[in-house]
């Protein structure tokens, strides 16, 4: 499986996700500068990493959504290729309209970096295919704009279509919902996917829960394994 990580000016989790993916999935990871208009070779998985693309000036993800590489990312997705947006990458995906909704400032109006738990809400997509529905994973969060928002009607449609993939949860009871969201996200939504299930955006950082001797836990390994399994068993498209 070939992975490409897009590097925007101001991305700061690009090298982290490169390390996490290459160590856990044992694959080579290409780093692609945002000014490129095409991916060299055909990646199977394109990752938009976390960070502060363009300093998050104007609006998180807004300027990056206009970068030259985005056209190639959209074409890749249209072919059924996998696109994963983490944190700022999720914000960019909503700004490009590849995923619905918007990420608004946390209700605390502060940046929050902490451990965080999410429940797997569905496994019929290219990312959580290898996980169990209802299981709770610990992925750290680190963001200032993580409040997932959609108008009521659209939110209902998203929920009805089963496109909520991760929801903030209590690790002890396994309950999930808005009351467990550290940022005020509607319905406790932490991650959503596209209609076809090949585009996933999430606020928490699975790459920070991947290297066993670091302080972020190891649940991220299960996430990367799940993507590899989906790819192997169900193919890219």
């Amino acid at each position: 499986m070939k992975t490409a990580v897009v590097v925007f000016p101001g991305s700061n989790c690009d090298r982290d996700v490169q390390r996490a993916v290459s160590e856990s999935m044992k694959t080579a990871v290409d780093m692609v500068w945002h000014e490129e208009e095409n991916f060299s070779g055909q990646p199977d998985l394109v990752i938009l990493p976390g960070g502060f693309s363009y300093g998050d000036y104007l609006r998180s993800g807004a300027m990056a959504a206009r970068s030259p590489i985005i056209k190639a990312v959209k074409e890749h997705a249209a072919r059924g290729g996998l696109v994963l947006g983490i944190c700022n990458g999720f914000q960019i995906l909503t700004e490009t309209k590849m995923l619905p909704g918007a990420l608004l400032p946390n209700t605390s109006l502060t940046f929050i970096c902490s451990r965080c738990w999410v429940r797997v809400e569905q496994t019929d997509n290219k990312f959580t295919y290898g996980l169990k529905k209802g299981e709770v994973l610990q992925f750290p969060i680190a963001h200032h704009e993580g409040l997932f928002f959609l108008p009521d009607d659209d939110l209902k449609k998203l929920e009805d279509a089963g496109r909520v993939v991760f929801r903030y949860a209590d690790p002890d009871t396994g309950k999930a919902g808005a009351e467990y969201a550290p940022n005020g996200a509607l319905n406790g939504i932490a991650g959503i996917c596209s209609e076809k299930g090949n585009i996933l955006g999430l606020m928490p950082h699975p790459e920070r829960a991947t290297i066993p001797h670091l302080n972020g836990g190891t649940d991220g390994i299960r996430f990367w394994d799940s993507i590899a399994k989906a790819f192997k068993e169900r193919g890219a498209c």
Binding site: F52, F111, C113
Partner: protein, 717 residues
């Protein structure tokens, strides 16, 4: 230019005339005035700083560069430094603190290192005041906004409250980075014919003469000093980091220097002087943010996010190409010469012509020193007020008070995990970071003990330094070196100079005895306002190395059934302890007398304890004494603790006294014999066991763990 408004004294101005054998012109007067300011020249402390031990087996670069560098092994160096941004943060908390973070990061870049971790020492005023709340909120948000965006994790720090900081908060920014030894950069390697290149932001009117601003007391006029505050742009800084890393990787830079205090002037004159060259700079080639700036404004501007690169002429094209790739401004503004002159040209006309030595070899000032008249009052301690009538209530008060409670409200606003190398982050007494691509770990402790330094600057500073070392020894780390930030009042008053002199002596003596070289640092003087002076506040950050990170002995890891020990004396001193300040409202009494022989015995045993893996958890006894150390251990281990100590020591002394080489350990039962054997020849007392859901101290108190946790995390009980 009136030399006095350039900050020069009569005798200094006379000296300049002698050195030049003529009168300096107004621009020259301004340039020399800034370089001779306290902030740039360290003129009041240079002599004292020379007493620090500078050599050590791990030291690759000591004091005198942008940052110190120590050897982490396997081809890796570690560049680190702490620097104050006190005055700007007092006037504009958000921007002052943010640019403090940005500034210290550029010092690390200048050593060729990728900025890898940051820490912050914050000293805030009376926590009950709205003013303190506003200042601390702005400062913390500023640090977060900058550090988070630039992608350097904040892995630890120190936050301390005392009314002495109400009008004069302190912000000490620490940063560090890993560097491949063959990629280390220097500000001393420019040579004739090389070009001086400005990379990064254009130069504007922000922060003009900030160095002189930082070289005097804060007063009401300081609020009018806002133009002297710089505005930070972490996005630009992030690009600057990536561009510089790329340039270094491709060997395109001959020498480099960050632009901090006194901007273009200090960076270019330092590079010229330290490299033994001269430099010719052409004013009109400097990219400007606004029109009509006078040469002195351009040279003294402290606009942020700029680096000075020295580039060989044949490498100019790839340098410009990389700058363009990152969207950074880049301009050739001058050339290195062999003239030993600092020359400034404007439209072909020579407008300043100074020997580089006059800017680089700055004068010294020797201030008189006198023991403060009120020193007796500071050390007088009245034991009758100190009785602990209700030890449970005293303990809960100590762990819930602003200085004792969890600081998660602060550090959760900082990204502590980006860069994927944090092993132990904020909340732990010792920060632990992976050394890239190795099994090694770098450990850091940050300490400051202002109350103890107020009552006895020498002993307080000694205890501060020893505390930072003990944390590393307990973790099992070898000591690499330390950096320090010396925050003091005006050196011009003999009683205040005494505090500075004695504190430095305390640090120097302790570092020398205990084999810790001082590799970098910063001095911030004139920390006083109409309402008074700050307590002497030397802050130290000490770096240690674990060759095998699996040998790290953490705290907060006590296991059910473990035996608890205290090593070291059961009793320290209540003088200037957290308990004493809580009871009396202000610090009084001396801390314990430094005993370096005892520290060495402690060091040997603590390091063996970690290396042999005979303990599951270890923690130095610090603020709040043994009782607070045990409470913190119970809370972070999420386990109850049962203590029984038979001793005639007064309750408050036993529970809450501080100072000296002391630690608590949790030891698995089967390893107790080995543990006790290691500690033979040193006081070592078995005091209890781990288990249950209470912190119970026989004949003293029994508190539910949940109550302890609430007090610690929520600050109330």
């Amino acid at each position: 230019m009136d030399y006095k408004s350039a900050g020069l004294s009569d005798s200094e101005y006379k000296r300049i005339n002698e050195l030049l054998e003529r009168e300096p012109n107004p621009l020259e007067t301004q340039l020399v005035g800034v370089m001779w300011s306290e902030h740039c020249s360290y003129k009041s402390t240079k002599r004292l700083l020379k007493t620090y031990p500078s050599k050590g087996k791990y030291v690759l670069q000591g004091q005198g560069e942008n940052a110190g560098v120590v050897d982490m092994g396997e081809g890796w160096g570690f560049a680190f430094k702490v620097e104050s941004h006190n005055h700007p943060s007092a006037v504009a908390p958000f921007q002052g603190a943010a640019t403090g973070v940005g500034g210290i990061i550029r010092d690390i870049i200048a050593m060729g290192a990728r900025p890898s971790v940051s820490m912050d020492g914050l000293f805030f005023g009376d926590p009950s005041l709205k003013k303190t709340e506003n200042l601390s909120k702005g400062i913390v948000e500023g640090i977060g906004a900058y550090g988070n965006a630039v992608g350097v994790p904040i892995v630890g720090g120190k936050t301390f409250y005392s009314p002495c900081y109400t009008d004069n908060p302190l912000v000490n920014a620490f940063s560090a980075g890993f560097v491949r030894l063959d990629k280390m950069a220097s500000s001393q390697t420019a040579k004739k014919g090389d070009l001086a290149v400005l990379l990064g932001s254009k130069t504007g009117r922000d922060g003009i003469a900030g160095a002189s601003f930082a070289s005097r007391e804060l007063d009401e006029d300081s609020k009018a000093s806002k133009p002297q505050i710089q505005i930070g742009d972490p996005f630009e800084e992030k690009l600057l980091i990536e561009c510089c890393m790329d340039l270094l990787d491709k060997d395109l830079i001959a020498s480099m220097q960050d632009m901090g205090a006194a901007g273009i002037l200090s960076s270019s004159s330092e590079i010229a002087h330290k490299s033994g060259c001269g430099i010719d700079i052409t004013v009109e080639k400097i990219p400007l943010r606004e029109k009509g700036m006078a040469p002195w404004e351009i040279f003294l501007s402290e606009s942020q996010e700029r680096m000075l690169l020295i580039v060989e002429e044949n490498k100019l094209d790839p340098v410009f190409a990389l700058a363009a790739h990152y969207g950074l401004d880049c301009a050739v503004v001058g050339m290195m010469t062999d003239s030993h002159r600092y020359r400034v040209y404007e439209n072909g006309e020579l407008i300043a012509d100074l020997p580089t030595s006059i800017l680089g070899d700055t004068p010294e000032v020797i201030w008189p020193s006198a023991e403060p008249a009120n020193i007796k009052e500071r050390i007088a301690i009245d034991p009758s007020n100190l009785k602990s009538i209700d030890p449970e209530n005293d303990l809960l008060s100590l762990i819930s008070c602003p200085n004792g409670r969890s600081k998660h409200g602060i550090w959760e606003q900082y990204d502590s995990m980006v860069q994927l190398h944090t092993i132990e982050g904020p909340g732990s007494p010792v920060a632990v970071v992976e050394v890239p691509e190795t099994k090694r770990a770098c450990l850091l402790t940050m300490e400051a003990e202002p109350n103890k330094c107020w009552t006895d600057p020498y002993m307080g500073a000694s205890e501060t330094m020893a505390l930072s070392l003990r944390g590393l020894w307990i973790s099992g780390a070898e000591i690499l070196g330390m950096t320090n930030c010396l925050n003091f009042a005006s050196p011009e008053a003999p009683e205040k100079f005494y505090e500075l002199e004695q504190s430095i002596k305390g640090l120097a003596d302790t570092c020398r005895s205990l084999d810790c070289p001082v590799v970098s640092g910063n001095v911030s003087l004139y920390n006083e306002t109409a309402s008074g002076q700050i307590y002497p506040t030397p802050l130290v950050v000490t770096a240690g190395l674990l060759k095998d990170r699996r040998k790290h002995l953490a705290s907060g890891n006590a296991g059910t059934g473990d035996t608890l020990y205290i090593v070291g004396d059961l009793c320290g001193s209540l003088g200037a302890s957290r308990y004493q300040v809580m009871k009396n409202g202000k610090p009084a009494g001396k801390t314990v007398r430094p005993d370096h022989d005892k520290e060495k015995l402690f060091r040997e045993r603590a390091m063996k304890t970690a290396a042999d893996g005979v303990a599951s958890s270890g923690r130095a006894v610090a603020g709040g004494g043994i009782a607070v150390a045990l409470a913190n251990e119970a809370i972070t281990s999420d386990r109850g603790i049962n203590i029984e100590i038979n001793s005639s020591i007064a309750t408050e002394e036993l529970l809450f006294s501080e100072g000296g080489a002391r630690a608590i350990y949790a030891v698995p039962k089967e390893k107790a014999d080995s543990f006790e054997k290691i500690w033979e020849g040193f006081p070592c007392t078995e005091i209890g066991t781990v288990g249950g859901d209470k912190f119970e101290w026989k004949d003293m108190f029994s508190v539910d763990l949940s109550k302890l946790k609430k007090a610690f995390t929520e600050g109330c009980f």
